[in-house]
């Protein structure tokens, strides 16, 4: 059965930013609230994309186009930068110091934003101390690090000890990216190693669900 939000979902999955923004405006003009456009439009599109990615039929170009369309719609709905009302939690992310590649991190950011997480992006070439400082300040659910170079691994391994010393041992740590994903969670001293952005999002959904149940 079709719904009024379907054209938005289709435009998002096509990666058509212009059409997606037009559909979001149309929905809002018919009196549909922003929150419903997010939950029935953006989140449904991301679930469908997630399913496609699970079948390994995805590539960076498609994800980037969908991510750009999603970010365009969110900016249209929340022009002042206010995130959707009910966030699943806050995630702080970075590419560690020495890594100036941030495409993987940016893809994860788009995916998580579309899945209603509040994302604090510490950027690329980011010292671990700055990442941990942001985690402490923001009261995050998890920290995510993305890396393209195996030489970053010693830095990643230090994150847990440094966080524990600052009383942040309860915060989950996730790693990903072309280099880091080759290592095990144990060897990186993290909680999870994501093979793709969606793999990472699924892990965060699990711990976000657990956090909500505890509340």
């Amino acid at each position: 059965m079709s719904t009024p939000v379907d054209p938005l979902v289709n435009a998002l999955l096509d990666g058509d930013q212009i059409q997606a923004i037009a559909e979001a405006r149309r929905l809002r003009d018919t009196g549909i609230e922003n929150e419903r456009i997010v939950t029935d439009g953006i989140e449904v599109a991301m679930e469908q994309l997630d399913g496609k990615c699970t079948m390994e039929q995805f590539n960076l170009l498609e994800i980037m186009l969908v991510g750009r369309a999603v970010m365009g719609v969110i900016k249209e709905l929340y022009p002042s930068g206010v995130p959707p009302l009910h966030t699943k939690g806050t995630i702080v992310m970075a590419s560690p110091e020495g890594d100036v590649h941030d495409l993987g991190k940016n893809v994860l950011k788009a995916v998580l934003t579309a899945k209603a997480y509040h994302v604090v992006d510490c950027g690329k070439d980011c010292p671990i101390e700055r990442l941990i400082g942001a985690a402490e300040r923001e009261g995050v659910l998890a920290v995510a690090v993305s890396g393209l170079m195996t030489s970053l691994m010693p830095q990643v391994r230090q994150i847990r000890d440094k966080m524990t010393k600052r009383g942040l041992g309860h915060i989950k740590i996730m790693a990903g990216g072309a280099a880091l994903k080759q290592a095990s969670a144990e060897s990186l001293n993290v909680d999870f190693v994501a093979q793709t952005a969606f793999d990472g999002a699924r892990y965060l959904d699990q711990i976000a669900g657990g956090a909500h149940e505890q509340h």
């Binding site: 390994e56 960076l60 170009l61 980037m64 750009r68 100036v100 940016n106 030489s151 080759q182």
Partner: protein
């Protein structure tokens, strides 16, 4: 057989005296020689000296006149950040503020950026090893160079939003690749490997590769053969299996397969093309020599009847790798008949 004869036999599906082995040792050669990576990638003479030392240490079948993935883009005007112990990275992309892609001039490989240093490395290496060991130069594939000239996000969005301008960008990149590759062959490289991670199906769809990148790769490889390359070697990292069957159209002679590709799938896709791979790069950092030896044996068993195989890693062996792991892969190939 010397290394060139051994590799030629593998490429032609004839029986070599042993399985050829190429460790993809680039910056690790600097580590072996105790030279900072930041120096290694800037001086051809230093690079060549380190490569020769690594060859003497490990005794494999190829050396690499290869710096990093930013040589071409720097020569075209990108600004890099150099660090003592890492590969350089692009700080400012050459074409990030360029609106007219038609009026660009191709950098002269003998004058621009570090290109002359890489040519010097190829020249020294060829002088040192002659025709006994394969001297491998390196160029980026057109798609990868396009992403290095503009930044990958901007390049991919350009491909969708302004396909004609993107086509101009790719043609410009292709011309740089061709000129640089020919210069490497003239300097002494037996072949330039075409390193093309941005053409991986993890980055762009199959149809994109077939319609947009493949015709340009065909032109690149045809030109290299004409210029004297002993073989065409294509290196696309990541899960490349969906596009392997297209490689013959570009006249690829050696296809690198990364650890994410099942060697048996690759054999089915490329029954008449020599494959090299595919031990996980990070295993050379983290695994033990026994594990590397076992994995090497497993791979050689998979190719025992077929032939057409070069024992190698799936991608670069990281600079910080354990030397005993590289030695274990080489020993596994050398001890097997």
């Amino acid at each position: 057989m010397n290394s060139i004869e051994r590799l030629t036999a593998a490429v032609n599906f004839q029986r070599p005296d042993r399985v050829p082995v190429i460790a993809q040792v680039f910056g690790h050669a600097a580590t072996v020689a105790g030279v900072p990576l930041g120096e290694y990638v800037r001086k051809g003479e230093i690079l060549a000296r380190c490569q020769i030392q690594a060859l003497q240490k490990y005794d494999y079948d190829a050396v690499f006149a290869l710096m990093d993935t930013s040589v071409e883009t720097e020569a075209a005007g990108s600004v890099l950040t150099y660090r003592a112990d890492q590969y350089p990275s692009v700080r400012l992309y050459a074409l990030s503020n360029v609106t007219d892609l038609d009026g660009l001039s191709v950098p002269d490989p003998h004058r621009a950026g570090r290109m002359p240093e890489l040519l010097e490395a190829a020249r020294i290496l060829r002088r040192e090893v002659g025709d006994d060991v394969l001297v491998v130069g390196c160029v980026l594939g057109p798609m990868t160079l396009a992403t290095q000239l503009l930044g990958i996000e901007a390049a991919l969005y350009l491909a969708i939003d302004e396909p004609e301008r993107f086509s101009c960008l790719l043609d410009f990149a292709t011309e740089i690749v061709i000129q640089f590759g020919i210069a490497q062959i003239e300097a002494g490289a037996h072949l330039p490997i075409v390193f093309n991670p941005s053409a991986s199906p993890a980055v762009v769809p199959y149809q994109f590769f077939r319609e947009i990148e493949l015709p340009r790769l065909r032109k690149v490889f045809a030109t290299f053969k004409q210029a004297g390359a002993v073989a065409n070697w294509l290196h696309i990292a990541g899960p490349a299996e969906p596009i392997l069957s297209l490689y013959p159209q570009a006249e690829v002679d050696i296809a690198n397969i990364d650890y994410e590709v099942d060697p048996l799938d690759a054999q089915r896709a490329l029954p008449e093309i020599c494959l090299d791979g595919n031990i996980k790069s990070f295993a050379f950092v983290e695994a033990t020599p026994d594990m590397i030896a076992d994995e090497s044996s497993r791979l050689m068993n998979l190719f025992a009847n077929r032939g057409g195989f070069i024992m190698s890693s799936g991608c670069e062996i990281p600079p910080e790798s354990r030397p005993e792991n590289i030695a274990a892969m080489v020993a596994a190939a050398r001890e097997r008949r």
